[in-house]
């Protein structure tokens, strides 16, 4: 039956961890990552990396472009860079640690299983910041033609103490 999500992996964080890795990408389908309730130990950005054999690829091959939305009167921010070691600022952008404030978002993963193509990601997210919100909408590419079996989320510093991360296959 077309039009379904099939859960591939999930992790619910209940104590401090430095990263969350979800694997199980083993087909050429599009995959979806759902994230909710990220609570961090410090003001952080969220970083995403592809994994190969379950290990995050930290090579400097991540290119991205993203629009940062804010409601506090400041101009929206364009994020872009090439040859970085992570897709930065996904699901969490200067996430505060105040109670109730969490990082949340959805990402779609393309070509991860295809060893002949680059891996692509599109994402949208939102978190609280001071008395406002910060939104993230963007995309990126990992410019290595290799088969990737998963995705890793990590805070730009410190740890996260809460959050639910679930990887789905879209069929």
């Amino acid at each position: 039956m077309a039009g379904q999500l099939i859960q591939v992996a999930t992790e619910t964080v209940t104590s401090a961890v430095a990263s969350v890795t979800l694997t199980g990408i083993d087909s050429d389908d599009v995959y979806m990552l759902a994230v909710s309730g990220i609570v961090s130990s410090a003001s952080i950005n969220g970083d995403l990396r592809v994994t190969t054999s379950g290990t995050a690829d930290t090579s400097a091959n991540y290119d991205y472009a993203m629009k940062g939305l804010r409601n506090d009167g400041g101009a929206f921010t364009n994020f872009s860079n090439t040859n970085q070691t992570t897709f930065t600022t996904a699901f969490a952008w200067s996430l505060f640690t105040t109670a109730g404030m969490t990082g949340n978002g959805i990402a779609y993963l393309y070509n991860f299983n295809n060893a002949s193509e680059y891996s692509f990601i599109s994402h949208e997210g939102v978190n609280s910041w001071q008395n406002g919100i910060l939104g993230m909408q963007g995309g990126g590419v990992h410019t290595v033609a290799q088969a990737c079996d998963g995705i890793q989320f990590s805070p730009s510093s410190g740890t996260i103490s809460s959050g639910t991360f679930t990887l789905y296959k879209v069929v």
Partner: protein
């Protein structure tokens, strides 16, 4: 005796997890494993309800199921009046009343003629732009909603919409940590609108 058995095993019982269920299961076992997120069941974009509005200005969903992440689609949405976006409000009393403050948002819009704009508010009366607001323009939209049923967390939204010549994407929050158990799609100026809204839960999210 059967009562000594768990999943058909006597003594040590197998560990159960999604994608790795072992044994013989009775209906109670299955229900308990579903509740514990340990039962293998595909098709996890679960339709909660589809409603069509053909008159009036509000469309309420009072059954949100039990999900960390909800997903709503809007299709074939139109209004005859100008300045009439379809917005979202939340309820903490099952839909008896809907909250009209403590919303914040930021969004980017763009038109096919090349005009791009930023919009934002630090305090407004709804999640204001599930769809854009041009009269007599057909629109489509989707919105993800996060943490609505978590009493300790704010309720967050990310969304995107398109009408004939206008795209929009953005983020919003209902900045009160409380349990939300109903949502309303509405025009805050009470102008009539038509269209179809489907609400889904993302199981195990």
């Amino acid at each position: 005796m059967a009562d000594d058995l768990k999943y058909g095993y006597k003594g040590a019982e197998p560990t159960q997890s999604f994608g790795n269920n072992t044994g013989v299961f009775d209906p109670n076992d299955i229900n308990n494993l579903i509740a514990d997120n340990k039962w293998t069941s595909f098709g996890q974009l679960e339709l909660i309800e589809t409603q069509t509005i053909s008159s009036g200005s509000t469309l309420d969903f009072t059954d949100l199921g039990s999900y960390n992440v909800l997903f709503a689609t809007g299709n074939n949405i139109e209004t005859a009046s100008s300045n009439t976006p379809v917005s979202i409000r939340v309820s903490n009393d099952g839909g008896s009343t809907f909250k009209a403050n403590n919303y914040r948002y930021a969004l980017q819009s763009g038109t096919t003629s090349g005009s791009f704009n930023e919009a934002r508010s630090t305090s407004t009366t709804s999640m204001p732009y599930f769809t854009s607001d041009s009269p007599n323009k057909n629109r489509g939209a989707y919105c993800y909603m996060y943490n609505l049923q978590d009493s300790a967390r704010y309720s967050f939204f990310t969304h995107q919409s398109i009408e004939e010549a206008n795209m929009m994407f953005g983020s919003a929050v209902y900045a009160v940590a409380e349990t939300i158990n109903a949502i309303r799609f509405l025009t805050t100026n009470s102008n009539a609108w038509t269209g179809t809204i489907s609400l889904y839960g993302i199981r195990y999210s």
